[in-house]
């Protein structure tokens, strides 16, 4: 046995062949885009029914209706109560969850593969024949209102909501919390939910994604049997601009007396999922704040010990979602942390990443992609993204190569284009009496203090 040289990191072995799983596309006659990925690894299946019923298409008065309607589906169907529905699913070990976001509503089902013929009919019944019993709707509403109240007292949740309202102009949907406000949620009634489901839970433009240890032909037959007679198109979705609230840099303190930490969000309107420099921008963000060894984390956590962690991210949506840096720091270092964040943003937008940094980010992106496709649920989520954002069928087959071919110039250009330190809105949830003087002394922009409700 040769002597081991511990002073050098071992080199990588030969790269293992990796391919995104093949996906069979079998659209149903009613327009539902059925896609099946066969994964024989474990006897499980993950199903995602994606519907064009998203919060982004709702006015501010209707905010939260998609989320509320989705959550109320567990209240039961025309044929069985909420308890009976839950019991029917859980007896066969099936988990059914509904979640609505800006783009649409996803109904996800996970179970052992041999239970799919029993579970899919229950998913279909839940979505196609919702009962919306009065008391279950009221309960869902109460739960939402309580969740809104909880979030308002959670510094991190409060910071996220407050920041969105400072990044976007008031009439942009993304300025509000995705699940609506106390006023809009209280105003919704059973008929609103029923009307919404009737208008938006439609097969056309939607997708049924099935990943797991299944046979595509059998899945297609199951889908035809239980979802084939469903018809119609969802309500049209109005387009909207994503104007910022202001382009002048400002500091907004949401006062939370007695805070031992300041929650900090620094950001502005970012980029849409369809941005032509998606890969370069993703690589650039990894260097700035997307990984543990990013510039921001090495500075604020490892060098300065200000925080447990700091991240930056672009939230890609069909319209430009926010770009932001988020962290939580001790009171006494709040201003210093804001100063360091701005300095990192300025250096990054100005000079861009180095070629070493880009090379490291490319390797990270290429490696991590394969690691995120272990489970049927992860594969189903990726395939669903193709439907949601209208991406090409082989988009994820080429994804790793696209990430690996980002050049330093392209990443620098993306940083220049999408990171604008002069336009950021700096939002803090903090004890204003404690942190205001030092934030004013920074001289980076006017400072405004509001009460939590503001």
């Amino acid at each position: 046995m040769s002597t081991l040289d511990r002073t050098k990191a071992p080199a990588s072995g030969p790269l293992r062949h990796f391919r995104f799983p093949d996906v069979e596309r079998r659209p149903l006659p009613n327009g539902l885009d059925l896609r099946v990925a066969r994964l024989p690894r474990l006897p499980v299946v993950s199903v995602n029914l994606f519907l064009r019923a998203g919060e982004g298409a709702l006015s501010s008065e209707g905010a939260g209706l998609a989320v509320l309607t989705g959550d109320a589906l567990e209240g039961g169907t025309e044929r069985r109560s909420g308890s009976d529905l839950a019991d029917g699913l859980e007896r066969i070990g099936a988990r059914l969850d509904v979640g609505a976001g800006w783009e649409g509503t996803s109904v996800t089902l996970s179970c052992l593969a041999d239970r799919l013929p029993d579970a899919l009919p229950l998913l279909a019944e839940t979505v196609l024949q919702p009962g919306f019993p009065e008391e279950e709707v009221q309960r869902t509403q109460e739960q939402h209102l309580a969740a809104i109240r909880q979030r308002a007292m959670d510094p991190s949740g409060l910071a996220n909501d407050a920041a969105a309202a400072r990044w976007y102009a008031p009439d942009v949907p993304y300025a509000r919390p995705v699940d609506g406000t106390a006023a809009s949620v209280s105003a919704a009634g059973r008929d609103d939910l029923r009307g919404y489901a009737d208008a938006c839970y439609r097969p056309r433009e939607g997708g049924l994604i099935v990943a797991g240890d299944v046979d595509p032909t059998e899945v297609e037959q199951l889908a035809l049997d239980h979802l084939g007679s469903w018809t119609g198109s969802p309500a049209p979705r109005p387009d909207f601009e994503t104007e910022p609230l202001t382009r002048e840099r400002r500091i907004w303190i949401v006062d939370r007396p007695g805070s031992v930490q300041s929650e900090i969000r620094v950001g502005h309107v970012g980029a849409a999922r369809s941005t032509d420099d998606y890969f370069a921008l993703s690589i650039a963000n990894m260097v700035l704040g997307g990984t543990f060894t990013s510039r921001l984390n090495l500075n604020l956590r490892e060098r300065n010990g200000f925080t447990y962690g700091v991240r930056s991210r672009f939230t890609f949506r069909s319209r430009p979602g926010p770009f932001h840096v988020s962290t939580a720091v001790g009171n006494e270092v709040t201003a210093a942390a804001v100063r360091e964040i701005l300095a990192e943003l300025e250096a990054f937008a100005g000079e861009g990443p180095t070629s070493d940094e880009v090379a490291a980010a490319r390797d990270f992106a290429a490696g991590t992609f394969g690691l995120q496709l272990e489970t049927a649920g992860q594969v189903a989520t990726r395939v669903t993204q193709l439907v949601v954002y209208g991406l090409p069928e082989r988009y994820y087959h080429d994804y790793r190569e696209n990430m690996r071919s980002v050049e330093v110039e392209a990443a620098a250009a993306a940083a220049r284009r999408h990171v604008r330190p002069q336009e950021v809105q700096i939002v803090l949830v903090a004890d204003a009496d404690v942190v205001r003087p030092s934030l004013e002394a920074l001289g980076v922009g006017p400072v405004e203090v509001t009460a939590p409700a503001g």
Binding site: P10, S83, G93, Q150, M153, D154, E302, T307, T368, G370
Partner: protein, 425 residues
């Protein structure tokens, strides 16, 4: 479904390091996972929080790995890594593309064998600050953030190793020295107190050879010392212990906990099934009754602690609405827990069906697979237990549930922590 058949291969190096290998070549991913038999339970008074602070120090470099290189090298290949400290153990793990397995073995072996030469005061001071920020962020600045501290304080007597929290006291953290780091390392971070699991896409015999090369020359170390304090406790609390908190929280919450046999006891399976009956899924008793039908709770959570030292815990909590009186919540929880004695065979089957799906979904993740195998090896010398998990739960009968409800889930063995919002608007 037929039985689980996760492959399990066991080995042991001359220095006592236990090794579990579990191959699965379907995805090009490999997980390296180490469990050390040390946690917050090993901390004597005055040293609380040290096991966790030490875990942070393990990422500050070792003789051949500069500070931050560990993160940098793993991220560079697209892998992910982390570590967690818990009552009975500390775990470290990397998931990497399978062609980078050797990198992870090099990193883990270097800090197991050669951590101390790289330690200095500056690194300790820096990680002390990071840990303090972690405590502020995850505990002090969070509504209900002190619940675990309150719960452990009333569930376990002062001399018991579970009396204090994993995050510990900041005063103790401030007092930690480099000497403490060195002696903790020499005492607990020895091969004979560790399990190394490799799961996923690798070739077993070549990998075993690599492990021998990287870990084989690390000195064995002495047996670990007995636990500090007095780990013995009575089977039950002998009454209802209470802590009523008026605090700046958004909604009332009642946390109810019961002392149970430890994770190692055969009867712990009954506790696990009881927990599933109470709170797993929307057909569970607490969700159906408290959330759906009576609408006194906004949400319910149930949990079992898999704790090894003399006694474990079953925990349920219910968060009310603004207008809910905490006493109403408490009474409702107590009633439903009493009614658990009525659970029949078909209800038990529902709970097990859901547990089965969750277990298989968990096993889809190579890292989770490795983590469970390490746990079963460290705690029970039996990683193959993973394939028998469901049998253990399937054997639980309604009679056993009734007995557990009667002997362990009553007012004579109950801790209740009530959070009442300051401002009742």
């Amino acid at each position: 479904m037929s039985r689980l058949a996760i492959p399990v291969e066991r080995h042991r190096l001359d220095n006592g390091l236990r090794i579990v290998l579990s191959q699965d070549r379907t995805v090009p991913v490999v997980a390296v996972n180490l469990w050390y038999g040390v946690g917050s339970r090993n901390e004597p008074p005055g040293k609380t929080g040290f096991a966790h602070l030490f875990e942070h120090m393990m990422f500050q470099g070792s003789a051949h790995v500069p500070k931050n290189k560990h993160f940098e090298l793993i991220e560079r290949v697209g892998g992910n890594l982390n570590a967690t400290t818990w009552f009975d153990r500390t775990n470290y793990f990397e998931t990497v593309p399978s062609h980078d397995l050797e990198l992870a073995l090099w990193l883990e072996s270097d800090r197991m064998g050669w951590m101390l030469p790289a330690m200095d005061q500056e690194k300790l001071d820096n990680q002390r600050d990071v840990v303090k920020n972690e405590k502020r962020q995850n505990y002090d600045n969070q509504p209900y953030g002190d619940w675990s501290e309150r719960l452990q304080a009333i569930m376990y007597p002062e001399a018991h190793p579970y009396h204090h929290t994993v995050i510990g006291s900041m005063g103790d953290i401030d007092a930690a020295t480099l000497d403490d780091v060195a002696s903790f390392f020499r005492t607990y971070y020895v091969p004979s107190n560790a399990v190394l699991t490799v799961a996923g896409d690798f070739e077993p015999s070549a990998t075993l050879e690599l492990i021998r090369r990287y870990f084989g020359e690390i000195a064995a170390g002495d047996p670990v010392p007995p636990l500090p304090g007095n780990p013995e406790v009575s089977a039950t609390l002998g009454g209802t212990a209470r802590d009523h908190v008026r605090a700046d929280v958004p909604l009332p919450r009642v946390i109810m906990a019961f002392r149970t046999p430890p994770y190692s006891a055969p009867s712990f399976a009954v506790v696990e099934v009881s927990r599933a009956l109470l709170g797993m899924g929307r057909a569970s008793r607490l969700y159906r009754r408290l959330v759906r039908e009576r609408r006194v709770a906004k949400s319910v959570v149930t949990y079992v602690y898999p704790l090894m030292t003399s006694a474990s815990m079953l925990l349920v909590w219910a968060t009310g609405f603004e207008s809910t009186e905490p006493e109403v919540l408490e009474r409702a929880l107590a009633e439903e827990i009493r009614a658990l004695a009525e659970a029949d065979e078909s209800e038990v089957r529902r709970a097990i069906a859901l547990t089965e799906t969750d277990l298989v979904l968990t096993l889809e993740r190579t890292a989770e697979r490795a983590d469970l195998l390490s746990m079963f090896e460290l705690y029970f010398d039996d990683p193959g237990r993973l394939n028998r998990e469901l049998d253990r739960l399937r054997a639980v009968t309604p009679e056993q549930i009734r007995e557990l409800a009667a002997t362990r889930l009553g007012a004579d063995n109950r801790a209740v922590i009530t959070y009442e919002p300051l401002a009742r608007r």
